[in-house]
Assembly symmetry: C2
Homo-oligomer: 224 residues x 2
């Protein structure tokens, strides 16, 4: 009985979230602003990648950021050093994922008319965020090569629902027992349609393919 009750409540909560995600999506579409939902394990490098991106693409693109954290403002504080714009910090108070209501509230504080792209940095977690639509256009999963080749198979929902995987910390390849071909096979097995981008945020040219991807996502707005 208890189990059935819990699942019913969970489904109602997720259905409500989907409604709110549709509102996010409509608001972003009306403003012609795409949003990328960045997800990964804790410590895979979401904040480091965003720090570099905000700095290096500042001249080309007007980027807004919503960043979620369980208890702290650490990530928001780190990111705020790299942009002139206000970073929207969401503290989930222990919850293991962002939800669409939090994104709707954050959008209220973002001037979409002067924004080319919204980054949403989710809570570090390979399980729960996969179930929560945030109204994003694109789901990106960061996958650090220090985590082992089999993570896509072990956390399949996250990788099935992703559009793009960003492999991170490629500079560590000589020092870890990680086989890139095996990892690619695991990714393809779970989701053959995934785009895969290799990066190393600590080397000068290590994020260039990611920047190409971000520029392509932030299509120029057509005139109103």
């Amino acid at each position: 009985m208890m189990a059935v009750r819990t699942i019913e409540v969970r489904e109602r909560v997720l259905a409500k979230n989907d409604e709110l995600a549709a509102q996010v999506r409509a608001r972003l579409a009306a403003a012609r602003v795409p949003a990328i939902n960045l997800m990964s394990s804790p410590g895979a490098g979401k904040t480091t990648l965003l720090e570099r991106t905000l700095t290096d693409l500042a001249a080309d693109l007007s980027l807004a950021v919503v960043t979620g954290d369980v208890q702290t403002h650490n990530d928001a504080d780190r990111l705020a050093r790299h942009t002139d714009r206000l970073v929207q910090a969401v503290v989930t108070n222990g919850a293991c994922h962002l939800d669409a209501r939090q994104i709707l509230t954050a959008l209220d504080a973002i001037d979409l008319a002067s924004t080319d792209l919204v980054f949403i940095e989710n809570v570090g977690n390979l399980v729960c965020p996969a179930s929560w639509d945030l109204g994003e256009n694109t789901r990106v999963v960061l996958f650090s090569i220090t985590e082992g080749e089999d993570k896509p198979v072990k956390y399949p929902k996250m990788f099935q629902q992703a559009d793009t995987v960003v492999l991170t910390k490629l500079d560590l390849l000589p020092h870890v027992p990680f086989r890139l071909d095996q990892a690619m096979a695991c990714l393809r097995r779970v989701n053959p349609y995934l785009d895969v981008i290799s990066t190393s945020a600590l080397t000068p040219d290590g994020v260039r393919p990611w920047y190409d991807f971000v520029r392509a996502e932030a299509r120029p707005k057509s005139p109103r």
Copy 2:
């Protein structure tokens, strides 16, 4: 209304879990078998550490393993190669943590009379498993130095409720921008009572302090 309802149901589910965890604890105590709940981010090295432990301590200790995974038996298959005993595999069907009912069921299949210690390998997740008592004696969190120094501050509940932290992948220290003193400060800030064990599961002597810890946990049984 919806939020309040959800929280009430969640609290009832957690209260039921606590009851079942008390049953696990009583059963283990009656058999004088301690249990260690191993938690971490995905890819921090739980399975690798257990693989070595099962092999290297086989002559000294009779170790039982319950391992939880979201969708696969990958970890159970890996561990089964290193022990003569049956590895208890729990597939959570998408759930982000193990619960006490799963441990009670797994214990049914373990001959506790011939067991010195039970390892419980939780789902890779730094958020949700912290809320679920499994009836363990000791909570151990693995913290890979590739994840960055601030993880204890960002996922405080996990580290507040831990007894021991095992730093993993110390062999990568020359190759990552990780400051051990900063990480220790973050750990102490969140939980000043934590024991910290440094390991590198890929070097011959890199897990010796962990073995000392495991041997101390698996106290010899007094005669009946």
